[in-house]
Symmetry: C2
Subunit: 767 residues, 2 copies
């Protein structure tokens, strides 16, 4: 926990004071991104202190050789690592030939960072006394353009305060970077050309093995009192290139260096035209200038917030928390490119490798569906369709056949990027989340077209997998699914994880229904799909047999479904009865002790009750919540949001609020003391769900948008908007009133607290 | 499989013909060792072809930094690696300044290796045409002295066949070695001094971290026609030192180089006296001379064989197989030093790390008890007593308390050397094997003294572990043991592995009995132990409650115990019904597929029936054998021996013989295509058990030695000896007769086929 280090503020993250211990944490928290690239909030000038340098280009990866202690058949030999990309932000500063380095300054005062979430920019300012006793004041502003998403801009202002001084500024780009999490210290980048022309510079480098060609580029200008400073050539080094500006600055005079930089990449350009494309971008940027680019940035962010903002009155920390989550999700993924996805650390770190987890379908999709046009959600679904062949290959590698598909646990390009057998091979419920997302997309958007076009093939591959993965137990006289890990990763290689079995059954039944629907409504697509998949009714009969006879562990005594066959054999001591010194168990206990304990890392059966809530009564939910919640330790960032939603549904608002706080300020308050490694991006969508689906009670039932609004007693009011089938509804909830406002032309019928409510365009309706 | 590469021969391994592909395999098979050190059969002269260099000193290890893909709490940060030691066998040969290198010779003929198991020496001979067309004949003989176990000797004879030639021979020692299985390419050795004086040379080096100081030493002499050749000085290199001999050899003349070498180590000498000790040894060796040393070697091996040989008439491959197994066990461990143990690869390779597995107690102990004086078995037990404190620490690390002990899965010095959670943390049945060995030692030797002196404390630590590791299942109303891996490592993290639960119960009950027995018979020891362990009757009451109410999964339908709770939920397809292309499953199938299959890597319940056979009727054994054997794939070298014994017990001699062949020639015929990595030493003791306990039916029942002799139809006769309570009995079994011969003074009563038989000293008794 790290409260009050980030000042409470509704729209900004603000840090005041320079603490070397906090540098890496702040580098994560103040990260900026624009969906196409992103970077940690590293200093522009040289810094000899402890830092974690990170710049990332979306979709650019390296297949690192797998590292294991003991090899298991089925492990991927290589897997995709998010790659640290060449650095374009560097600006070295010398004052009377003394390097400015915050780690060696005699004094640093007025140090401040601000990440302005409303407008999408980051500033840093400080005053420092250099070892040569010269005092300088520095103000830097930086942003990554949302409009020109290969471009970033920096304005670096330096003032000398206590004497005249010779200032030398060296903006540069550098491809001599490494990954902190490299397995074997492989060289990931091969630099092929380094060039500077006047105030521009270019480094062409391609990734080893994957051969992504990139051009890292920059342009810099400097001025004092509106006078441009002459650019000096810098000797090109092997991996570093740039230019230089030198000026005799008078006391209290300011030199302003403006730097544009970024990447052009072979994913979007011909490899031979990367420098041309970079020059083109730099021409555009210098024509517009820093101020105009910044103005556009503010406008674009305003448009994003217009649709996705959640306001909270009366609780500034909750307000800051939810905006930080929404801001980071938008920095990470904007849905412009179906090759990209939502990495668990976004552009804020490189831990885990790969970019895509089941988090995308289970947690992120609802956020993007409700706050963007539906093309964004389509992109996320299309991503999985594009990986279908690789998912089939992946299943084949593990012994499945006939087009059965197992999507990887973690992936970048469709190939598996993970190597813990109990996860990689056994956490197969991920396949179900991908199928559920197809259903969820149709349920929310009303757009069926994805299913005949792409989705049905994905569903067939997944249904085939479940059919093959289950086996008949002659003892239980039911189909069982053995050797799995459920969402609760604190149980491995268990039998009949209720969540997994339920999803498996649902996937098959849903696929069978869609087969019929596509056959009836889209005969051309149906014929194409049947021809391609060679699906027969004999096969679907077998699927149906498995789904109809699936086993679900159930306790008659407790009248609850069991998380897995052996759950009741455990020693059922509740979390509250554990000594404090035993928590968090993932730090205090050995792995085997965790595994045989009843403690649940994240919602498992309750996750199933969340996805399939219509299948269960409120009494059943209550019984399962009361049974399982006391064993849940929430040591996954994905757990509290589901519990918050379920607690709200049960009318337990205090509990719901506690869970909400835990999810929304996880990184800001650094609950797990690991924010320096990067942010927890995907769970941020869960925070959004806690408010909209938890407190707001938003659901889609029988094609209707429904709400059961509640408000935590700590809040005066809150509001959010959703885009439901291209109609924008703003929902405002206060202690004694809920109002709805509909944008557009036509009226719309919704349900509030199970009552029908008609919304008229432009008219506020109070309930 | 690699049949007929090693010529069938009752007493020797013979290889004929030079095949570069076989060099690494032969280096393993022709390995020599003397319990204190050992080496792969690497060539003395330089060899540029594919080779795996290995020299090992017993007990000298390095704590290598653990390598894992994903860290789990409880993993050891470092673990002991068997260390490749400096090489002392090297003798480089130049013929007219052309290096002799078998990989570059124009022609190699008459290449032959022989490992003479009867006399304990290894020869290699060949004729070769060098690139300069000179033909040479080489005969090398090498052995590691059993009497001076820090010393080895080489006689290297070279004859020029087709012209006169200048011969330069360079015997050297070299500490520039590396481990093939190093995790991080750490430097393991630090060389501190390199010196040569005349024809002697010394390298002092110590291991990094563990700081074992060693002196690698050598002395060489050379002669032609009984004329000594003058020794020339060699310039010392950083890590290499030696001397040189040069001679103008006439056609058909022979130069003979004799080299003594070896190691003195700080485990047996003061670090400052290593060179003195080496000089002392070299004085002794050169005084005795090669021939006398070799004669002593033959005598010592004769004494070993006198006691441990098994003869088989009518089946030379079976004969060669069993002798190879007995020979290797004796090369690996002689029981002289209780700090040492029986490494799974002995001195033949470095795979796995650590030296001690539960193999020692479960498989090797019976061999050493029956073929050596009982001090050897005592040494093996004492080893575990000496590691008790570390076993308690190890358990503590995993969350146990109050002196509970968990012995490591793999160890060198008592610390854990393994890092697969499903093995390291969960294959806890090893603890039971250690307790069983204490019982087995007393049962076989009749010597109770180990228990009050040392064993009871070990038993208390183990009983405490089982008591804490079990938990009460309110569902089953019994104590359960969750999350284990049984001997069948093809099931992980299972609940209520019958074998583990049975051992746990037995351990507690046995410990309670021994507590009473020591209290009654050894009150001083008892008081000491109770004071030290702080054991109370409250605690032992709790143990007893757990043991008395242990759960054992049982199938009413099949009337068998289940290997674990979920076994019958599996798809029970027998091994014979698997496609050939699916075998071996550990190469063909992904790990998850193996885990959810019913296939058994090695005897599990049948292993329990082996250890506790008196607790079960022959009908029960048959039922369990018939149920489980068809699912057993024997992909562990430790599996066929137990099945051979059980099949013999059931009178199924054909099956027993098939299992015997599989275990006895595993390495000779290279069943698993991995012999080049080293030999499977510990399972060799299982081969011995297959004959003595399987075919011979030897048991100790109620203090009496018992036999139920049978003979495979492929054999004419076989014989073996056992040392039972310091009485040597020779058992000879032929198709129609079994005879017993007792050595010593007193008569002795045994049981044969459940009939009492009186043996009189020196008199053959036929049954």
């Amino acid at each position: 926990m790290n409260q009050d280090y980030i000042k409470p503020n509704p729209w900004s993250l603000i840090e005041e004071g320079f603490e070397t211990d906090r540098v890496k944490s702040s580098e994560s928290l103040f990260s900026i991104g624009n969906g196409a690239m992103g970077q940690r909030a590293n200093f522009e000038e040289y810094y000899s202190g402890d830092t974690f340098q990170g710049s990332y280009i979306a979709g650019v990866y390296y297949p690192d050789k797998t590292r294991v202690g003991w090899w298991k058949n089925g492990y991927p030999e290589y897997f995709a690592k998010v790659l640290n990309a060449p650095n374009w932000i560097g600006i070295n500063i010398h004052v009377n030939e003394q390097a400015l380095d915050l780690a060696t300054c005699k004094k640093v005062t007025s140090f401040k960072r601000e990440l302005n979430m409303k407008e999408g920019w980051y500033i840093r300012s400080f005053q420092a006394t250099l070892p040569n006793d010269i005092e300088v004041k520095v103000d830097v502003q930086r942003f990554l353009s949302l409009d020109l998403d290969e471009l970033g801009a920096i304005e670096y202002k330096l003032t000398v305060l206590n004497s005249d001084a010779n200032i030398r500024m060296t903006p540069y780009i550098d491809s001599g970077i490494t990954n902190e999490d490299s397995n074997w210290d492989d060289k990931f980048w091969n630099t092929t050309s380094v060039a500077s022309i006047g105030n521009r510079a270019f480094i062409e480098a391609h990734t080893m093995k994957t051969n992504f060609a990139t051009c890292t580029f920059m342009e810099a200008t400097a001025e004092v009192n509106n006078q441009m400073i002459e650019v000096l050539e810098l000797q090109d080094e092997e991996l570093v290139v740039g230019c230089q500006f030198q000026h005799e600055l008078k006391t209290n005079e300011t030199i302003t260096l403006t730097k544009y930089g970024g990447y052009t990449v072979s994913t979007n350009h011909k490899p031979s035209e990367l420098i041309d494309a970079a020059n083109h971008l730099l021409n555009e940027a210098s024509e517009l200038g820093f101020e105009v680019l910044l103005k556009k940035q503010k406008q674009t962010w305003a448009a994003i917030w217009e649709m996705s903002d959640i306001t909270i009155e009366g609780d500034v920390k909750a307000q800051q928390g939810i905006r930080f989550n929404i801001f980071q999700l938008n920095q990470t993924y904007l849905g412009k490119d179906s090759r990209l996805n939502i990495g668990p650390k976004g552009f804020t770190g490189e831990k885990y490798g790969g970019s895509t987890y089941w988090d995308t379908e289970a947690y992120c999709l609802p956020f993007y569906m409700a706050t963007k046009n539906q093309e964004v959600a389509w992109s996320l679904l299309e991503y999985r369709y594009n990986h279908l062949e690789k998912a089939i290959e992946n299943a084949k590698k593990l012994g499945f056949s006939n087009g059965a598909a197992l999507y990887p646990m973690v992936t970048m390009n469709g190939e598996e990027c993970h190597n813990e057998w109990e996860i990689t091979f056994e956490e197969i419920h991920r396949n179900g989340a991908i199928a559920f997302a197809i259903y969820n997309y149709y349920r929310f958007t009303g757009d069926y077209s994805y299913i005949p076009e792409m989705g049905l093939e994905v569903l067939i591959g997944i249904a085939r997998f479940w059919h093959q993965r289950a086996n008949y137990s002659s003892k239980k006289k039911k189909f069982v699914i053995l050797g799995v890990t459920g969402p609760n990763e604190y149980e491995n290689n268990i039998n009949n994880n209720w969540y997994t079995n339920y999803l498996a059954k649902w996937c098959i039944k849903y696929t069978l229904k869609q087969l019929q629907k596509v056959k009836d409504g889209y005969p051309v697509d149906y014929d194409r799909i049947i021809a391609h998949t060679k699906l027969t009714s004999d096969e679907t009969d077998l699927w149906d047999e498995v789904a109809s006879n699936m086993f679900f562990p159930f306790s008659k005594k407790h009248q609850i479904f069991l998380q897995q066959d052996g759950f009741l054999d455990k020693e059922l001591i509740k979390v509250n009865d554990l000594a404090k010194s035993d928590r968090p168990i993932n730090q205090k206990w050995s792995w085997d002790r965790i595994l045989r304990s009843p403690y649940i890392k994240q919602a498992d059966i309750l996750q199933g009750f969340y996805l399939f809530e219509e299948d269960f009564s409120i009494e059943e939910l209550e019984k399962h919540f009361d049974f399982y919640e006391p064993f849940t330790v929430h040591e996954s960032s994905l757990s509290p949001c589901v519990h918050s939603i379920q607690a709200a549904k049960l009318g337990r608002m205090d509990q719901a609020y506690t869970f909400y706080l835990r999810t929304s300020r996880l990184d800001l308050d650094d609950y797990n003391k690991e924010v320096e490694e990067g942010l927890h991006i995907t769970s941020m969508a869960g925070t959004w769900m806690s408010i909209v689906e938890g407190f707001g009670g938003m659901r889609v039932l029988e094609d209707k948008l429904c709400f059961t609004p509640q408000i935590p007693k700590q809040w005066k009011s809150y509001s959010f908007k959703v885009n439901f089938r291209n109609r924008i509804i703003k929902v405002s909830v206060s202690v004694d009133n809920t109002s709805f406002e509909l944008t557009g032309q036509e009226e719309m019928s919704i349900r509030v607290n199970n009552q029908r409510v008609i919304l008229l365009p432009g008219k506020q309706v109070n309930v």
